[in-house]
């Protein structure tokens, strides 16, 4: 009998439930007495689905029990089943239990069923197998939960057993590739005595990957048909398995004819040349894909098109003929139209402002789509350090009808602030502790509002660094640096301000005898130049420094007083090295000049004409000098990964007037590791010369200030470097070097060939958190005049990347 039509629900009866609340269930089902209900309609289906999705019932049924005119009475039959109220583990360590709870917590509150239990068992087993416990056994029991009606506890009993390792890996059917090479290709190794560092743990996931690796190995050699016919894993001891694999190799294939179809922009010859595969080459499908679609090292076919707007470019290599071991390939190309970039969208930046990201984006509206620019943008965004490099998503959205493409950039923020805490012995004053904090994504603009200080205002790509170094009362230094990398927002003109204050005191038996304070403020502006090429950077800095000396002998000739300096410095540098951590090619050349105002020109006005009659304090009221530095460093690849680094460094310090000698400030000191230590007083330039003791090479004393350092130096280095690891998490390289340098009291004595020579070996480790740490062993060949023990074999430790 046809009952379709519109009805009013006159009553709803719920049957089958014992523990649950009928009103709550009706609310969930979305049915109510008084509602109009069309029969048939999707509303009842929706209600059933909603109830079913709660996972509370074994069965859900809605039936119309009675019709009365336009009234209908419904019956909801809900079969209640016991539910899981808790999950308990037995034989599981606390840490594992927490992780497992998390993995299977979704089953809490669901009705207990065989598939549910089975899934829980599989999850737990997989967890242990992935950790190497291949022999794990898991049992489930379901006791009643006495605290909650109609509930059970899911009890999982785990017998973890020992870690299972591979005893023997047996191959059958391989002729072209030896057992040894197959073993080498696999990540799972046979358990053998001297093998300590490699893992022989048997993990199903790793085993699956290993099988893929073997097929890939064959593929690379042209064995296109290679496959693993059968394989099995069997226990030989409770904690040892054997792996057996039967292989089918098939013939080794070669290319025969490669033809092109559908190309209008580039000719067949040109495409063949870029592809670089000749007739007779071994057929390697993986390599072919690389050369067609994406190659990191060489140009590939896709990049020809994709870097020139052909966003829709597709290429499909089709094996048109396979004869014996020869393959003919037809490259079917779809070029499509060129696309112009229209809009750029930025998503996911929950902290960093749009403009900080947009200025790194190289895909600019109006230009042709280019895959290369997208890759470069990806690199630039990663290098900012604000985003997780793995999670930067770039999605071009093409609009065929207008010939344009929009590009969506999605980023995920990560913490970019750094904290530095370190301590060490140094500078001849004992323990020095350092506390530093660097906010890499600071925002000065937002600093005015207190609510933004959580913990610091962020998002404008500025840098704020605070650093305190101290050794009790004897030595303290504070520094604060603020950097805006894009001053004005138009071009990457880096502007920075630095304030620093240092104190050094003579402390004897807990009493301060005297001390010295240096306070300085520096402002600098760096600009990238477009001429002669865009590797050039010009930077200018203005700085003011005040030295306050209070009962302290600093070798200046006076023990109480104040000296000041104002310096202006300009640096022109060209840096074309390919990689900052381990450069292989390129060069880094920099010329800088630092000068103070020429105070001596005003000497007459101030009544200082008679220079010789002035006291040292009068002479050094305003410090005066000009200083020139030239540094050149070249990187040349020799063979393989071996790189030669050739460097030359020169420095020259002079006063403005001939009659006056150069002051004790800013002089050069050579020798040792080149670590500046804590001699900040005279602003000496401490330059490494390995093979000689720290600061041992100063001109043999003539004149008042000569003991404090030279005024001319030169240094030459040839260094061979070989990388052991180029992993960004820890770059490691070893080096051997010869170097030579000297330091002269004045320009008249300068002789660039009269130098102290040395040779040695060393290693460098660079980790992002610690910076570069190095150790060198070097032998100095020439005896130092006035310091006979300074040369000879010795170790040098270095921290940070040194320029000179």
């Amino acid at each position: 009998q046809n009952r379709s039509g519109e009805y009013v629900i006159a009553g709803i009866n719920i049957s089958g439930i014992k523990f649950l609340d009928s009103n709550a269930l009706l609310n969930m089902a979305g049915l109510k007495v008084g509602d109009t209900l069309e029969i048939p309609s999707t509303r009842t289906a929706t209600a059933i689905r909603k109830l079913w999705e709660t996972g509370l019932f074994g069965d859900v049924e809605i039936t119309a029990t009675k019709f009365e005119g336009n009234k209908v009475y419904l019956n909801l039959y809900l079969q209640e089943r016991p539910r899981v109220s808790r999950i308990q583990f037995e034989g599981v360590k606390k840490g594992d239990a927490d992780k497992l709870q998390d993995k299977i917590k979704a089953i809490k509150g669901k009705i207990i069923s065989d598939p549910l239990v089975k899934n829980a068992l599989i999850t737990v087993e997989k967890y242990y197998k992935d950790k190497g416990f291949y022999a794990v056994k898991v049992n489930a029991t379901q006791p009643k939960d006495t605290l909650l009606s109609n509930s059970v506890i899911l009890k999982l009993k785990v017998e973890r057993g020992k870690k299972v390792k591979a005893d023997e890996i047996i191959f059958e059917g391989n002729q072209a590739v030896s057992d040894k090479r197959l073993h080498r290709r696999m990540k799972i190794k046979e358990k053998r005595f001297p093998r300590i560092f490699t893992s022989s743990k048997f993990v199903p996931k790793k085993y699956k990957e290993d099988k893929e690796r073997i097929i890939k190995l064959y593929g690379k050699e042209g064995y296109r048909d290679a496959q693993i016919l059968e394989d099995c894993v069997y226990f030989v001891k409770p904690n040892r398995v054997n792996i057996y694999m039967k292989l089918h190799e098939g013939p080794q294939y070669h290319y025969r004819n490669i033809t092109w179809k559908g190309n209008f922009v580039y000719s067949d010859e040109y495409l063949s040349q870029v592809l670089g595969i000749k007739k007779g080459d071994i057929y390697d499908r993986e390599e072919l894909d690389k050369r067609l679609n994406f190659s990191l090292t060489e140009q590939d076919i896709s990049s020809l098109y994709m870097d020139n707007g052909y966003l829709f470019f597709r290429i499909t290599p089709v094996e048109t003929k396979v004869e014996g071991d020869s393959i003919d390939i037809e490259m079917r190309i779809y070029e499509g139209p060129q696309a112009t970039i229209n809009s750029i969208f930025i998503n996911g930046n929950t902290r960093t402002s749009d403009h900080v990201i947009l200025r790194e984006i190289r895909t600019i509206p109006g230009r042709k789509f280019s895959r290369r620019e997208i890759i470069r943008t990806n690199q630039a965004l990663s290098q900012l350090g604000y985003f997780d490099p793995e999670k930067i998503q770039i999605e071009p959205v093409p609009h065929l009808e207008t010939g344009t493409v929009d590009i969506n950039y999605t980023v995920e923020e990560k913490p970019s602030d750094q904290l530095e805490l370190s301590g060490g012995w140094g500078g001849g004053i004992g323990f020095v502790g350092t506390v530093g904090v660097v906010f890499n994504n600071f925002s000065l603009r937002k600093a005015g509002k207190l609510s933004n200080w959580r913990p610091v205002p962020a998002g404008d790509g500025q840098q704020l660094a605070l650093r305190i170094q101290a050794n009790g009362r004897a030595f303290q230094t504070y520094s604060l640096t603020f950097t805006e990398p894009w001053l004005g927002g138009k071009k990457p003109n880096a502007f920075s301000v630095n304030l620093s204050h240092s104190v050094q005191r003579n402390v004897f038996r807990n009493r301060v005898l005297g001390g010295l304070q240096v306070t300085s403020a520096t402002m600098s502006l760096g600009r990238r130049l477009n001429f002669p090429d865009d590797y050039f950077v010009l930077s200018n800095a203005l700085s003011f420094r005040q030295y306050t000396i209070d009962n302290y002998n600093a070798g200046l000739g006076y023990n109480n007083g104040v000296s000041r300096s104002i310096t202006f410095s300009t640096t022109l540098a060209r840096n074309s090295i390919d990689n900052p951590t381990f450069p292989r090619t390129g060069s880094n050349i920099s010329l800088s000049v630092t000068m103070t105002p020429p105070f001596s020109l005003f000497d007459n006005i101030e009544g200082r004409a008679n220079y010789d009659a002035l006291s040292p304090q009068e002479r050094f009221r305003w410090i005066e000098y000009h200083k020139w530095m030239l540094d050149a460093s070249f990187f040349t690849p020799i063979v393989g990964k071996l790189v030669l680094n050739t460097r030359a460094h020169f420095g020259f310090l002079q006063t403005y007037s001939k009659e006056k000698e150069v002051g004790p400030f800013e002089r050069f000191i050579l020798g040792g590791s080149g670590l500046s230590g804590f001699n900040f007083l005279l602003g000496s330039d401490i330059i490494a010369l390995r093979g000689y003791k720290d600061r041992s090479i100063v001109p043999f004393s003539t004149g008042v200030n000569a003991g404090t350092g030279g005024t001319v130096f030169s240094k030459y280095v040839m260094e061979l470097r070989y990388p052991l690891s180029l992993n960004p998490a820890a770059t490691i390289f070893v080096l051997s070097f010869v170097e030579a340098g000297n330091n002269w009291a004045d320009f008249g004595r300068f002789n660039p060939f009269n130098v102290y020579r040395s040779a040695g070996i060393g290693a460098r480790v660079l980790m992002p958190a610690f910076g570069m740490i190095g150790i060198d062993y070097a032998v100095g060949f020439d005896e130092v005049r006035g310091d006979p023990g300074a040369n000879g074999g010795q170790f040098h430790f270095t921290i940070g990347q040194q320029i000179r």
């Binding site: 609340d21 009706l26 509150g109 939960d145 509930s151 929950t350 902290r351 403009h355 509206p365 109006g366």
Partner: protein, 269 residues
């Protein structure tokens, strides 16, 4: 140990539920949410489930965790569509999203979500007393998107990327027809187009100057009283002159070619 840890360790669901309600009343939202999270799966299908879920959502809302409160309010009105509290939950879902929408220079996913949540609310409850409030909030959220779009376009203008600025500003003008920044965008588009033409190679100048002149006409027609009009007219005159110069130069360049061709055509005796 404290009363709360005892509650947390207890396996008695009813006791935990009562404890959570008490904590909520006492405004200890963090502890209340911890207890509720634990018992909600077990409470499913019971009388208390409805209240527990709504309170949990409010716990997160008062803790200012708007992402989670948005999630739980949504789950509430989806599960308990017939509850008298459903309307409130739906509004609070949208309002939580509104609260989590950040400044215009950051990711606007939540802003877009909030707009559509308010719209769904208005569709579901068109006679609600919150209609005016919703419309006001939607307007505020939309203006954020507008500011974002304008700032991005303006960034190209600032960086002297004239071609990109013209495209981005045109997109902005099309997308936000009633924006407060529209007039400024028109002017900046004209200026960018002029500078783009001026810095182009000769063969492209003619077409690009013409484009700039077109943008001036659009601007002058739409905003005859604009405060930028004087500056715009100035640019317009320069563009006209630039166009004339470009045409002249192109002619001169073509002339020798023509002459050469003519020379070739005339056989010399």
């Amino acid at each position: 140990c404290s009363k709360f840890t005892r509650l947390q360790r207890s396996n008695d669901v009813q006791k935990k539920y009562a404890g959570a309600l008490e904590l909520y009343e006492n405004k200890d939202y963090y502890k209340a949410s911890l207890l509720l999270e634990e018992i909600i799966p077990v409470l499913r299908g019971t009388e208390q489930a409805e209240k527990a879920q709504l309170i949990l959502a409010y716990c997160y809302y008062y803790q200012k965790d708007y992402t989670l409160s948005a999630f739980y309010f949504k789950r509430f009105y989806q599960t308990f569509g017939r509850s008298p509290k459903a309307e409130e939950a739906m509004y609070m879902h949208a309002y939580s999203l509104y609260k989590s929408s950040p400044a215009p220079n950051l990711d606007q996913t939540d802003t877009k979500k909030a707009i559509s949540a308010f719209q769904s609310y208005l569709n579901a409850y068109p006679t609600s007393k919150r209609v005016d409030e919703c419309n006001k909030l939607i307007k505020e959220l939309r203006s954020k998107l507008e500011i974002k779009s304008y700032n991005l376009a303006n960034e190209y203008y600032k960086q002297d990327l004239y071609e990109a600025a013209v495209i981005a500003l045109s997109n902005f003008i099309d997308q936000y027809p009633d924006s407060d920044y529209r007039e400024e965008a028109f002017y900046k588009r004209l200026e960018s187009a002029y500078l783009f033409a001026k810095n182009s190679i000769l063969s492209k100048q003619e077409q690009r100057y013409q484009e700039a002149i077109g943008y001036y006409q659009d601007f002058a027609e739409r905003y005859p009283e604009s405060k930028w009009l004087a500056k715009a007219s100035n640019i317009y005159e320069k563009a006209v002159e630039g166009l004339r110069n470009a045409q002249q130069k192109m002619k001169e360049l073509q002339k020798p070619q023509k002459q050469k061709e003519e020379d070739k055509a005339q056989p010399s005796f």
